[in-house]
């Protein structure tokens, strides 16, 4: 190989042109030193290809390959290079062959490079995908392990409710194999004791309206047993957010549930008979009163065994207990099919509750069923025991009574049934009830009740109509009876009078009330109200009263002028009545007297002027009659007005009782009535509430209707 002499000026020009060509475009990204070496190397090769003898086309091909190696892969570079080479004068017309060799070298290198890089990127993508798959498999394996070995039952279903997968714990929970469960539908897993709404929220979940829910839910196992679970269901959405799967997690809470049930059963059932106990009965009864339908009725049959005590005492508690169990079983068998609840209240007392009574005859029918069920003798061991029972029947509209009053009434009706002779039912009668309450209450407990502190006093306010001031309070005795609940004076005072128990009770009331009034005066001075205390007829006829009062006023320090005693029209029946002397004795001590319930006793008005009274209370029925649609209201007002005028003519202060509306209060004020009392002004309340009113309502209570007060006032 010989080297031809080269024209240096041409070579330099080519080198410059070549360098300019490569420094553009891609060359800008290449390190200048590297670019210099590339320019020199390739220019040298091309130069030799042009001039060397013999012609070595591979030199030109090598130059093309070096460009590709340095990432001069843009075809424009090739076009420009060929253009430049073609302009070079070449020996023996080898120019086209040289350009061809250069282009072929460039293209071959580019092809190799492209294939290599494609191979590399494919390999890289492959590796990356395998890595990702490996990671995914590892992740899946972890999830699978989590799913399979979880102690909690897990099931996966689609949103149509098809069960797709269940784990071991869930299979064990259901006592079923995967083949029993996969392919079943979630909707088939309904149980009669499912909580309200569980299937509604399920529908919300699978339709994408909620993300999860939790419930305690029972399921039937494969063997038919019931398993209670704490169920959590979550919704899985796809990438677009559409519901895709549901995942249910179930925790077996059967033991916990059974324990709760047992505790609840123990709390609500009588261990001897298995019947619902007193607490359960009251819970059911009170539920009836929570939100009753208008017109809803209920019935109670109070049942007491006749002669149980004899069995118990003579044959022993064990036999007694067996008898009670047998009776309970009979009652349950006879009444539960009718839809009635039978409960044991304690001892030999049972009750039947009719939750949706259709009328009195249904309750009576239930009572007859009770008697019939117990008619046959009961076999206990060798004993053939004849048990009978008495039944008190109460059947009422729910809205007319309260649970406490209903139970008391049923109990007293039972008491009447027993008194009337055994083995019979008796129907509730309001009048009999009131009588029975009084008699029962007083005869059984009253003597001890005072000592036991079962009495207390509420105070009902009396307001002055002219200025709305709290003028007086009336002391009203209450009895917190251990069995009957709180009784009002109308329920026990009459009987207390009949038995003479009114004397110690009356003294106690006077003592308590005077002490309370004195305390208010000490605390509030003139703002404290006058005290009104009722005097029973028997008290007024007692010679000891004056002395008692004297002592009480002394011990409590109450100013007698702040005390008014209320008597009824029947206290004094004639001018020679010995009660008159007592009343005068009281007035001489400085206390005032008022006639209570005036207008109900057909009293001789002539006596009124002889009585040492300074006040008169118009019976509540007069104001009450104003609202009776059967009676003419204006006539009523004329009567009230007449009573007020008459009282004023006698120099008496007049109080209207039973005032329930502001309108009535206003009209009474216009008529000239002095004081008023009634629900419009306040019911009887605890002394603390009276103290609050004195302290917080120094202006009293509004009486006049705004605007009208100006017209009629003064």
């Amino acid at each position: 190989m010989t080297r031809a002499p080269e024209p240096s000026s041409g070579a330099e020009r080519f080198h410059e042109d070549w360098a300019r060509l490569l420094s553009g475009d891609h060359g800008t990204a290449v390190h200048p030193g590297l670019l210099d070496r590339l320019v020199s190397g390739t220019a040298g090769l091309l130069r030799r290809a042009q001039l060397d003898e013999p012609f070595e086309p591979h030199l030109a091909a090598e130059a093309g390959a070096q460009l590709v190696e340095a990432q001069f892969t843009d075809p424009i570079v090739l076009a420009r290079a060929v253009e430049l080479l073609q302009r070079q004068p070449a020996a023996d017309g080898r120019g086209p062959a040289l350009c061809g060799a250069f282009a072929a070298g460039w293209a071959a290198a580019l092809r190799e490079r492209t294939l290599r890089e494609q191979e590399a990127i494919r390999t890289a993508a492959d590796i990356a995908r395998k890595e990702a798959e490996k990671a995914l498999r590892a992740s899946e394996a972890r999830f699978r392990a989590l799913f399979e070995s979880a102690a909690i039952g897990i099931g996966i279903g689609d949103t149509d409710g098809n069960i797709l997968a269940v784990n071991k714990a869930l299979q064990e929970l259901f006592g079923a194999g995967p083949e029993d469960m996969i392919g079943r539908r979630v909707g088939d897993l309904v149980h009669p004791e499912d909580a309200d709404g569980v299937w509604d929220v399920y529908e919300e979940l699978v339709s994408g309206k909620r993300e999860y829910f939790q419930f305690d839910k029972p399921y039937y196992r494969q063997d038919g047993e019931v398993v209670w679970t704490h169920l959590t269901v979550s919704l899985i959405r796809d990438d677009d957010g559409s519901p895709q799967y549901q995942v249910a997690m179930l925790e077996d809470v059967t033991d916990r549930y059974r324990l709760q049930e047992r505790l609840r059963h123990q709390a609500t059932h009588d261990p001897l008979t298995g019947l619902p106990n007193r607490a359960a009965f009251f819970e059911r009864l009170e539920k009836l009163f929570e939100d009753p339908d208008p017109g809803a009725r209920f019935g109670l049959c109070y049942v007491d065994l006749d002669g149980f005590k004899v069995v118990n005492d003579s044959l022993g508690h064990d036999t007694g207990d067996q008898l009670l169990s047998a009776v309970a079983a009979r009652l349950k068998a006879a009444l539960n099919p009718l839809g009635h609840l039978v409960a044991r209240l304690g001892g030999d007392e049972f009750v039947v509750l009719l939750e949706n009574s259709r009328g009195e005859q249904e309750a009576v029918a239930a009572a007859k069923t009770v008697l019939k069920a117990l008619a046959g003798p009961v076999l206990i061991g060798d004993h053939k025991l004849a048990v009978g029972a008495s039944v008190g029947v109460l059947e009422r509209r729910v809205s007319t009574t309260t649970p406490g009053a209903a139970v008391r009434a049923a109990d007293l009706t039972l008491y009447r049934a027993k008194e009337a002779g055994r083995g019979r039912w008796t129907l509730f009668d309001p009048k009999e009830n009131a009588r029975a309450v009084s008699r029962y209450a007083v005869s059984v407990r009253m003597p001890a009740a005072l000592d036991r502190g079962e009495f207390f006093i509420d105070y009902q306010p009396l307001y002055a109509l002219a200025d709305g001031r709290l003028a007086a309070v009336e002391a009203l005795v209450r009895w917190r009876h251990p069995q009957l609940g709180v009784l009002g004076p109308d329920e026990f005072v009459t009987t207390a009078e009949e038995t003479g128990l009114i004397m110690p009770l009356g003294r106690w009331v006077l003592e308590q009330a005077c002490g309370q009034a004195a305390d208010w005066i000490r605390r509030f001075g003139d703002a404290a109200p006058q005290l009104n205390v009722n005097l029973a007829v028997r008290q007024a006829r007692s010679a000891a009263l004056v002395g008692d009062l004297n002592r009480i006023l002394d011990s409590t320090g109450l100013d007698p002028a702040r005390l008014q005693l209320e008597i009824t029209e029947s206290t004094v029946v004639g001018p020679e009545d010995e009660a008159l002397r007592t009343l005068h004795g009281l007035v001489e001590q400085g206390v005032s007297l008022a006639v209570d319930d005036f207008g109900t006793g057909w009293s001789n008005l002539a006596y009124l002027r002889d009585l040492p009274v300074s006040g008169l209370k118009i019976a509540g029925s007069f104001v009450g009659d104003l609202h009776d649609p059967a009676k003419d209201e204006e006539t009523g007002w004329r009567i009230v007005s007449g009573l007020v005028s008459m009282a004023h003519a006698l120099g008496l202060t007049v109080t209207a009782e039973g005032v329930e509306t502001r309108r009535d209060a206003e009209r009474l004020r216009v008529i000239g009535c002095d004081w008023a009392q009634g629900w419009h002004f306040g019911r009887p309340v605890r002394p603390a509430e009276i103290a609050r009113r004195i302290a917080e309502e120094p202006q009293g209570r509004p009486v006049a209707v705004r605007g009208r007060a100006v017209t009629h006032g003064g």
Partner: protein, 268 residues
């Protein structure tokens, strides 16, 4: 929220990928048809894109050389992509043969490719991590080892932060990295700017919205803000060709047409 690391990142070859599109712009063949399709569309809309990418690559080269000449031999290349042509370790070792580089990319294909290329190079390590989960990135053993010596490290965020959306707070991410760097460390950053070609910005960003890596171009002021805590070397944050050109004439008449801005800062 950080995903638990036992849920694997997928490789989605059906979508164009920024690293492979970039390779295509630079004349490489480390790409698939989806990448090329996307790149062709982009070039049709904006014919200068290959030139812009070359300009960016040239900045990377100059900046690595610059920091190596200033004594740095540890490099953290975040968003390294497919470093076939002018890789950081090659450039750096031309100045400092002992240079170590940790390449980081979030794309598993780019990472696998880099590993293939670099498996015989003990001074170059490849980590798959995402700068948006910067705490995870900075706690990788390869990264902590690079920082542990206490020697200055050059952190390269070249054409990367415009793939981080405002919601991920790129400024905060850089601050977290900065606080882990020894004194004398450098930040090398380039970023697509809104000012260079405001006429192209919207179309271009729209095109990248179809990739897993949408593009957020930012103002020079916002980009300069990324150097908080660094002393920016002269001439500051400028258009790519304007940053320390090899020759004055290499800047060209319209450096703003390269649209990207770049800068280098040192941590005091």
């Amino acid at each position: 929220m950080r995903r638990p690391n036992w849920v694997p990142e997928g490789t989605d070859l059906d979508k164009p990928n920024a690293a492979r599109v970039y390779d295509y712009y630079l004349g490489g063949s480390h790409n698939f048809e989806v990448d090329r399709e996307m790149a062709r569309k982009a070039i049709a809309l904006w014919p200068e894109l290959p030139q812009i990418m070359r300009s960016n690559r040239a900045f990377l080269r100059r900046a690595v050389q610059f920091t190596a000449e200033r004594g740095i031999s540890r490099f953290l290349d975040i968003g390294s992509g497919i470093p076939t042509f002018g890789a950081v370790h090659e450039i750096a070792r031309a100045v400092r043969p002992e240079s170590q580089v940790v390449y980081i990319d979030r794309d598993p294909v780019a990472v696998a490719h880099s590993r293939l290329l670099l498996e015989d190079d003990p001074g170059s390590l490849v980590v798959q991590a995402d700068v948006r989960d910067v705490d995870d990135l900075m706690s990788r053993p390869e990264v902590t080892a690079l920082l542990a010596a206490g020697e200055p490290v050059a952190v390269l965020l070249v054409a990367v932060m415009h793939f981080v959306q405002d919601a991920d707070d790129p400024w905060k991410l850089i601050a977290v990295i900065r606080d882990a760097l020894p004194p004398g460390s450098a930040l090398v950053l380039s970023h697509a700017s809104l000012e260079g070609r405001p006429d192209q910005a919207e179309d271009h960003q729209r095109l990248y919205r179809m990739t897993p890596t949408p593009l957020t171009m930012r103002t020079v002021e916002q980009i300069t803000g990324m150097f908080a805590g660094f002393d920016i070397v002269e001439p500051g944050v400028v258009y790519l060709p304007q940053w320390h050109p090899d020759q004055p004439e290499a800047v060209g008449e319209h450096p703003e047409r390269m649209t990207g801005v770049a800068g280098v800062g040192f941590r005091p």
